[in-house]
Subunit: 196 residues, 2 copies
Amino acid sequence: MILDAQPDMEVVAAVADGAEAVAEARRLRPDVCLLDIRMPKLDGLEVTRALAGPGVENPLRVVIVTTFDLDEYVYGALRSGATGFLLKDSGPTLLIEAVRAAAAGDALVSPSVTVRLLQHVAQPRRAPAPMNDPLTERELDVVRLIARGRTNQEVAAELFVSLSTVKTHLGSIFAKLGVRNRVEIAAWAWESGVVS
Amino acid sequence: MILDAQPDMEVVAAVADGAEAVAEARRLRPDVCLLDIRMPKLDGLEVTRALAGPGVENPLRVVIVTTFDLDEYVYGALRSGATGFLLKDSGPTLLIEAVRAAAAGDALVSPSVTVRLLQHVAQPRRAPAPMNDPLTERELDVVRLIARGRTNQEVAAELFVSLSTVKTHLGSIFAKLGVRNRVEIAAWAWESGVVS
DNA sequence: CTAGAGATCGGCCGTTCGGCCGATGCGGTC
DNA sequence: GACCGCATCGGCCGAACGGCCGATCTCTAG
């Protein structure tokens, strides 16, 4: 009703489950699809992948509308190809704007969800592990290369030092960060924004 | 005018440059500040850092409103502490919603900007290996644990399988992702959002 | 019924990792 | 001059990793 009341919008179909959604969307090819996540037969993420996922030739614009504000849903939806993510408490104004944005190829995400997305995009360096002892600049060089998957040998070559030196630095990093292997170094580097 | 017409909003000040913005915002402490980026004396990003940047004790909510749709502005604004980013062509509806969201501690970003942010958050882009072959659910279980720094032995214990099984899965993952060691798996997991 | 994909296991073997010892130089500070 | 943090190197060794082979079991699709 909200959308049909808009002069520039028309609701062309309403369906009861995910399988119907895929069938009707493929038949009618609407400008925008609104999908709930929890639906019978196929859930919203699977429908999204079918209609707009990577590898689909003429992807439709999909806006997810759901009551469930879970991070796994958000990332799942966006990775599946959704161009919008709305919580059902967003009000009619945002719903209309989200559809209009999707039709234009843009994306509108609920403000309460956006604020969490931005933390992942723009987080300044904050160590997840309590770091009483800061890393030296040289140790950070090693961390950055380790986090990109380089072996000790490759790190040594890229920093123009010997393998022994790299291993010494690694030992210091292990002690300072309180981690036990190089993958935990990589995880720390990604979480703290040392690499991105 | 647009904002003052809202029953739940009141414009308490309007200033001519960045220096004034900082002074008035500190004096009046409004619920939300709207800032342009290009301003005399201090630009919007510097003002944002002063009012809402990392390390500020009682940060204000800042919404950037600008005509310049540049990635460096977007990321700069969000890293500086902005809780919203609007383009001036967004229309009055989104402006009102952005202010309302900011007042609630949420964040609204222009749809045309959001669509680019989402590509950075949700698109697993990997030049050498565009993943023609998706990982199975079990392989993803292994990836998630590996990315958190678990050893093969620990992964085996947590998944209730043998060490051999973990190594077999790892071999498949190496082949599918086109990587050479477990740290590159971790890096892929963080980049693609499999872990966060 | 058959073929294939996926999950599960085992063994062998060379490479890499990480811990632990020690050592040298270089630049600061007290 | 003495001390100390930092970067640089070396050797040794056990554990972990990763490649390569083959194998069984289940489930699904044709």
